[in-house]
Amino acid sequence: MGTQFWVVQAFNGVSYGALLFLVGAGLSLIFGVMRIVNLSHGSYFLLGGYVALSVIGTTGSWLLSLPIATLTIAVVGLIMERLFLRPEGRAKLVRDALIALGIALVIRLMIGPILPQLLPGQIGNIIQVALVVIAFAIPIFLLLQRISAVAIEADVLRQVLMTVGFAFLFQQAALDIWGGNNFDIQPPSALTQSLVIGGTYLPLYRLFMIVGALVIGIVLWLAMEKTRMGASVRATVDDAQMARGVGIDTNKISMLIFALGAGMAALGGVIGGAFLGVYPGLDFEMLPIAFAVVIIGGMGSLGGAAIGALLVGLADNFGKALFPELAYFTLYAPMVLILAIKPTGLFGRD
């Protein structure tokens, strides 16, 4: 184990940390602004990778897949936030209608295998399916209107279970759309070469990851520190009620942050797809690691997420290289210790 080993491992750790920053920063800001523990964050990462695969498959352009995947998943996150996490006014009606349609569709599709005799002939007829679904959906919708749904904002357990439910829905959707195979995202050939510095090969792609995360981190930091919008976000993190009181539209802020967080996770999924791959189950592998980043750094802090990502990236790489049998233990044990000693993380505030 010469210096080269340490240099390569440290380089890999830092570049993995760069990727983790993309995932963790969004999760951290979402918690800071909305006080929502979002367990579907790993799904955004996975879905980002899948969307990128489709874009590359149709256009052949890796560069184009970055913004498209980011924007698509940002919109997915936005819809989830508007309709399910913080519905207001008419959004509640849309949510109930969507749920009613979903239940009706499941009932209609279940009748097929359970009681086929109820559906004589023309089982695949789309008009018949639509009619049956609507016939079921209307009474369900009316029933849902009578049961007032419970807001999940104040209760962390409900947030966890609801967002996990979405993670399962996303997982199944990804399986239905993209199948169960393992994919790799091929970056352009210009990025697949290696730099040779003092006899050590440093893959250009990992260098690109570090630079990319640095640029995004600096832009975000400037936006948070130097713009009016950023000041509003910070105010909302510190005290949402007070921020509302002084006229900040916290509703808009939480929309923006949720979309931003989901988009960044998706971008991470595209970039990480080159060496982690894209496969079913990646979502729930990434999720606890993202939480480790957020916890170690402190929830709601951008700088904390950066430090947390760096530490987790290094701990993961050195853990796997030095103590392969204890690899994940070396990652989560520090998380436990930090939570026990300083629950708000290294940089978090109460």
Partner: protein, 331 residues
């Protein structure tokens, strides 16, 4: 007291119905019921924390996994727990689950709310990490197959029916033990902590110690369910300790109704029933599971056990509305 007696009678009758009907069903249902009862023990152990102490743990699978791995390792490497010594495995599972919880509790108990969730998640991930990577001990990703089969002590447990009866016995015993626990003065003080922690502290209760003991008891029964799971499943993999297992246990408890004990059992039956039954019908069964999560959270805050209460509450409010209408009519 009348409704309480009625509830106890209802639970006993349902248990008897379960005990009588399931053995006449096909082997698929017998195995399904056995697994659901093992998870019911896990969900009820979690309910001690969630429903009776107000602590939402995201790491209950850790104790489940440790019980299961310990059973598998002892059976495969030392042939222990496959004959009459299975009866030693039961207290060992309880003690090891409890001991792990006693260790984890030192870190976790001080935290509340989100931080408690996060620290139990991290502790659970530590156990998962060891199970997943400690190849020489746990078989890594492939897990451990129970080579010796199920225990055999006069009664042959390799018969699914016999194993069903055994699991039923443990399930009923756990239900009884935990019921006595929550009805005891200790259980009442746990409820007090759930409702008003500060008041209990002012009254002079050692809140930390109460939570710690509840955490250990939950861990112990988690360990017991793990011992049974190893034999029910025949293979122990990192899947057992993965985050989604902890989340499943949480959902089962919330779906049935937290703070009711039997709610965990009902939730377990529904989740297992849905998952195993729907997955034989359609490939997209996970939509149903995800949907159950979302719907439970949105529309069933008190779980299935809370539905009668919600209906009568709704009726009362309707009545009130009518009486106020009548009262305001003359003016």
């Amino acid at each position: 007291m009348g409704t309480q007696n009625f509830k106890i009678a209802a639970v006993i009758v349902s248990l008897l119905v379960l005990l009588i009907i399931v053995p006449y069903c096909n082997s698929f249902v017998v195995l399904l019921a056995t697994r659901a009862m093992v998870f019911a023990i896990l969900a009820m152990s979690l309910d001690i924390l969630l429903g009776f102490t107000g602590l939402a743990s995201l790491g209950q699978a850790a104790y489940f996994g440790v019980g299961a791995y310990l059973t598998a390792i002892l059976a495969n490497n030392y042939g222990f727990g496959l004959k009459w010594d299975f009866w030693l495995m039961v207290p060992i599972g309880l003690v090891v689950g409890g001991a792990l919880a006693a260790f984890f509790g030192l870190f976790a108990i001080r935290a509340t709310g989100t931080y408690f969730l996060m620290i139990t998640l991290a502790l659970g991930q530590c156990v998962w990490g060891l199970a997943y990577r400690w190849n020489s001990m746990t078989g890594g990703d492939n897990g451990i197959t129970m080579k010796g089969g199920r225990p055999h002590f006069g009664i042959d447990l390799s018969s699914d029916i016999n194993f069903f009866y055994l699991t039923f016995g443990f399930f009923a015993a756990t239900l009884l033990a935990l019921y006595i626990l929550v009805r005891s003065p200790f259980g009442k003080s746990l409820l007090g902590i759930r409702e008003r922690e500060l008041r209990m502290r002012i009254l002079g209760y050692n809140v930390w110690l109460h939570k710690y003991v509840a955490f250990i008891i939950a861990g112990a029964f988690g360990g017991l369910s793990g011992v049974l799971w190893a034999h029910a499943n025949g293979i122990v993999t990192p899947e057992t300790v993965v985050l989604t297992t902890s989340v499943d246990a949480l959902l089962m408890t919330v779906l049935g109704g937290a703070g009711t004990l039997v709610g965990g059992a009902i939730g377990s039956a529904i989740v297992f029933g849905l998952r195993e039954y729907v997955s034989t019908l359609v490939p997209w069964w996970q939509y149903v599971l995800g949907g159950v999560y979302v719907l439970t959270i949105l529309y069933l805050p008190t779980g299935l056990m809370g539905i009668p209460g919600r209906i009568s509450q709704w009726r009362n409010s309707q009545k009130k509305r009518e009486t106020t209408k009548v009262a305001s009519a003359p003016s």
